[in-house]
Symmetry: D2
């Protein structure tokens, strides 16, 4: 089978989309404008489009405060987008799924991209390309510093290109624009959507992550399972001089909790780590602190180990509550599991990638034990229903590391990735024929 | 009224008794021999005698292990004492109450002394008088290092002398030889005895405590309320290398508990302090510690404050249990409350003491905020039933401080104390007449 | 001697001054406008006036950040005040001393008031008098919530009234408008001024503090010695997943420090307490926290005990520094000592106060063991040079407690206090005559 | 080359030796009797023998207290052994090296076995073979529960068998009976002996370790680097009620140290773990604890990571010393490094083992990341001088796990191991010829 190439001019289309997303970054669960733009295009191209409340059926973890939600909702309202999309959304209910049903018997092939930005102030340095070329973030304090603007763009381009080749397709194509990947919040919430049932082949992808331009990693394993928590400890204030005994000291409670968390034992079956990243307690030098807030995360080599420590975490805070007679709210604000890519599917996409001229090295399978991903929920769902799932990485040369204020990608790699994904269905059809 | 003097020779009798007690020290709740000897003499003198199980009706705190109990029980068995007394006793049920009922209308006057020794190895230094004169402890590792041998002696002498003057007495005389004062264990257990009901006047006394020879403190206030705890934390052992996660770490649990106890807040209504005195945990360098034991105490200016912290202590260990998924046994092994002496009664004994020639200074009333006493339970019981109670101190020159391996008293001060107590009933009778 | 009364109309003058101060509250070390207004008036009345850099010779503790200083400095610049006063000031160098030297032999009598406000947002409730009458704070977030506006006013009124009676005075009058009492920062800095040498009689005063209207406390003892600290712990950030071992964890360091501070032992010679009031650490969930900040204070029954714990505090942080390989900056931002009022001088002012008709109860001497005061530095300095010092309290009915957003005093009590202080020199002169 | 078999009867000789060692277990650094018996036999067979002080040239870690040393020394004295061997030994200076110098040019081939027992009370259960057959430990509380009795036996048998074949040998044979492997104390002390220089081939071996009977692991990697510490924290005692502030609390110091140790971060380059195994502090409920003792260990995937945490450990205790104003003695009582077996040499012994009929499975190379070994010091020394080293495991069916009170091996596996080791030199000679 010949490798389908897209005309080179299409990169300009992609670039325009990506820069627009880049200029209007929206944090997880508040991708109102982003979702609306995507939905609009998909509808125009002929997709069945499902948005926000129609697709987020599970519990949305780590939804931002309403005040912040309002800011982004209002920005979206003021943009030139259709109200009908906004009406389908609210904080914690964003994202888009587009479905192309050919009506012809055939496999359901799904692609998942993520679309959210980060609460990072983008660099205004002259050498920072978005600044230089005038597409720096217009939402001060927020930035597409992890490449999800390009992911959304690849998803859109793929959707358009596949629709153009509708006649050659069979079965169904599902393009998932998942919200709130940062903090691993959206995956577990979107996976309950019935639209994600009965997928035969699922592809997910990340750009960058340390992989250089020209390299493609077909299948990735080893994302870490993780749970992220926000804790609020509510004690009782008292004047430390006048009636200290009436206080219930949330600061000491949090100090003991931090030590208990960091002294959890290692696990013999795989890596575990914990980090209490932030702690804020008290509001006056001579007042027994009545409030403490902590943000922490656990990560583990697999979902079972992670679950083991989730139980330990709950025990610690149940204990802290009793010890200091305080109220503890332990909120899980992010969660991801560990799921390997299917090697069988990795081999398929590997072969496709080899035909992509811009790719000079294809790695079939790689362990990747430092980050987490919530695409894993959808991958696992697909696998449990008998399908296959594969997470790939398209290399690019980064201006600065992920989550850095000067993060930037090379835009032509979007087209490379898009072409690989565009060819995959045809490889699958072919292989299915062979196997018949 | 004339001050009754006892013939000087009687000091030899007292000295012989005291040295016998000193040679055979028995720890709290195991005063088998001591109790039997006392009971025997009281019976011979004509007292109604009640022993061990007949008088200990409350919960006995901090009863020693059975193995140790057997050691002292067997020693007592082997002594030349009557079996009938031993049969009335068991570990946690010791002590004697002797009652002289004159049959004549009159007040019930009670005296309370304590009789137990300490787990201290007595000095064998040549200059240590008990060693020099050959009456050092024969129970290695145990010692009368707080003067309770002299207290028991004073109580005995008083009983004999009062009986000799039975014709001059009216009402009832109750002499209480309370067990297990060390660790404040016996007071709360003996107070439930009906024999201690309807006491009109209660006297208790300590020798030494820093008061010099020749000084008598008539009334003492300010004993600290206290609760003493033994804690056992049971976790689960695991090999720290092979399966650390299976362990439940009792050592870390105890470390956090110690820090939590020591960081309890002060109390605005009075002094509070805590001390974790001992901690033992773990039994192998590479084993997750499955057992930890702690001994600690709280003390407070009064019973209410003490109770406040008892609740805090319980909360801490309930929390520790949850945090580390361990089992915590929090045993209260000692308890004393805070009760002031009645000033009115202190004045009576003060006047008596002034007539004692060996006393050159009488202090009417003194705060004593460093130690605790479980005579307070009996004092409070008397006060609640409308009686009066007074705790006194007879000064002596100590060879070394209380609980020191070279502790020793001057024996003639026993006679001084005895004479003061002997005269008290007559003062009371006189005063009652005056008040009629 | 007759008690000198001020014409009742003068209360309107005082009230106008107080309300002006109340509307323009300035936090400690930034009392630029307040100091300038005071200096201006004193100069007009004929006082020798010393301001800011001329009087702050010691180390200024807890000076606010420059950015905040600029805000208040600029506000002052924009007011209608003379530039010459502002030139004498900078952040950490504020306050005024006015001296009236009669040239006639006689005692030096000094009065000390404080002038700073608090970082508290004043209530805008309709029932809050400053709001109702239109003199609520114009510096949002700052408020005279401890009555120092009235103290400054009393000091000013006293200065004017004494000058009016200059002919009747002898010796010297020194009126000290001390900056930065809140957080006990100014006292130790101003006391090194040579202008405060050779004072024979020193008076200081507080309004309110729980004492009801109509009551005057002549002499106060028992202010707590205190030291207040800001701590910065600087570690090294690292990604908790990628290279945790490269981090130096400031959050855990601060947790152990908080526990160590709160588990400091009690002191046998007097009260001690500690409070870690605030703790902030870390800035990302998966970043090893590289920065922690704590605010805490110790208080003790006297200066020696406080010094004992200052050493302990330094040891703890020296230890934390080594344990976590972090850098610790332990800054003492407030300090006060414990000094008793001279009973002899309290008796003088007591007699004066008895003649004040608005006062119906005068308490000669009272222990006051819950707060701290840095007037104590000046009191001690005076006492060390052979003078006498006395701290008084003028009762008032408060709308709400000190440091509360609805704190308010009754303004006529300023006049009562002023009259008492105005009469004091004459009592002293008389007494000196008697003693000759 | 033919595999040399030893006559089956020789197993009886081995069994007798092993049971003798088993009956007389001696803990590390006190192997007086064991060493003397070995030395005696080696001398009789014609070996050059070096004992105790002649071979222990480095620092002996974790030497037992003198009192315990005396017990074992005296036991040895009372045995029927030659005094001349005992004279060469003292606590911390035990073990034997036997050298067979053929005088003919050839390689130096060394074997290292360990000889010490454990402080474990051996089971007296009827089903426990040593009990049933009458060779249970006669040193109550000590037991060969790790198979070093069989290691010593294999070493002895090998020495005798090699000497019998002296004519077929060339170069030198060195048999090292290393003391104090338990707690990894002896390896770093014996390695400085010049007798261990210029070894060309070094073999070490363990029996059991979970490898089943019939399996032989030729080369082992992955022993964990480890450091073992005993810590003594000396504070100052004080009565918690009378003068708590005079105390320096060793118990709280140890609690904080335990939490700090257990909250050390993971390492990105390999496994790390820590365990505080024991903690003992304080000796009276109302005494500020003046003494605390801890035993702990760190283990790491390699020597560098271990060294990283050694520095952290030192920092923690330097900090604890300052924080609590206590004296800390941090004694390193055990130490082992991580060294891989040489694959080249593992291949040689693998081929030999294949010819051993009792072995049905030979594993060439295995990672073994749960324990530590101080043979690694000798292995590294050999490798640094250009030699090759290989650590093997001979499987056996254990009655119970290592360090268990019912641990027991199957004795015929000693003969299997011995035969493999006996054949190794000849393989080496052959291979050297081939390579010439």
């Amino acid at each position: 089978m010949d490798f389908i190439k897209i005309e080179r001019d299409y990169l300009e289309v992609l670039t325009a989309w990506r820069r627009d997303f880049h200029q209007h970054p929206e944090p997880g669960w508040l991708e109102f404008r982003t979702s609306a733009i995507i939905a609009d295009k998909l509808e125009n191209w002929g997709y069945d489009v499902f948005v926000g409340k129609e697709i987020i059926k599970g519990i949305s973890l780590g939804v931002p405060k309403q005040a912040q939600a309002n800011v982004f909702y209002n920005k979206a309202l003021e943009s030139n987008i259709q109200a009908k999309w906004l009406e389908k959304m609210e904080a914690g209910k964003t994202g888009v799924i587009g479905i192309l049903d050919t009506g012809i018997e055939g496999p359901t092939i799904a692609y998942r991209v993520d679309i959210d930005a980060l609460p990072i102030l983008e660099s205004a340095a002259d050498h920072h390309v978005p600044q230089k070329l005038g597409f720096r973030s217009q939402n001060e304090g927020f930035m597409h510093a992890c490449g999800h603007d390009s992911h959304a763009t690849i998803g859109l381009g793929l959707a358009e290109q596949l629709m153009k080749r509708k006649d050659q397709l069979c079965g169904k194509i599902v393009v998932i624009f998942q919200p709130a990947e940062e903090g691993v919040r959206g995956g577990s919430a979107i996976v309950s959507s019935p639209l994600l049932d009965n997928i035969d082949y699922l592809f997910a992808l990340h750009i960058g992550t340390g992989i250089p331009k020209g390299t493609f990693v077909a299948g990735v394993d080893g994302f870490l399972a993780t749970s992220k928590y926000d804790v609020t400890i509510k004690g009782v204030a008292a004047h430390s001089g006048i009636n200290a005994e009436k206080g219930k000291n949330a600061l000491l409670a949090s100090a003991q909790a931090a030590l208990a968390l960091h002294s959890l034992p290692p696990h013999s079956e795989g890596m575990f780590r914990v980090n209490v990243g932030t702690l804020e307690a008290g509001n006056g030098r001579n007042i027994i602190p009545s409030l403490a807030k902590m943000q922490f995360e656990i990560r583990a080599e697999n979902t079972d180990i992670n679950a083991f420590y989730e139980t330990k975490v709950e025990q610690i805070f149940k204990g802290i509550e009793a010890m200091y007679d305080v109220q503890v709210e332990l909120e899980k604000v992010g969660y991801a599991i560990n799921v390997p890519s299917d090697l069988q599917l990795a081999k398929v996409i590997k072969e496709v990638a080899k035909s992509q001229l811009s790719i000079n090295e294809v790695i079939e399978y790689r362990d990747f034990k430092s980050g987490s991903e919530d695409a894993t929920f959808i991958m696992k769902h697909v696998q449990q229903q008998g399908g296959l799932a594969c997470y790939s990485i398209i290399g690019t040369d980064l201006a600065a590391g992920h989550h850095h204020e000067e993060f930037d990608i090379e835009e032509d790699d979007m087209l490379s990735a898009l072409e690989i994904w565009l060819n995959v269905p045809f490889s699958i059809y072919e292989e299915m024929k062979v196997n018949e």
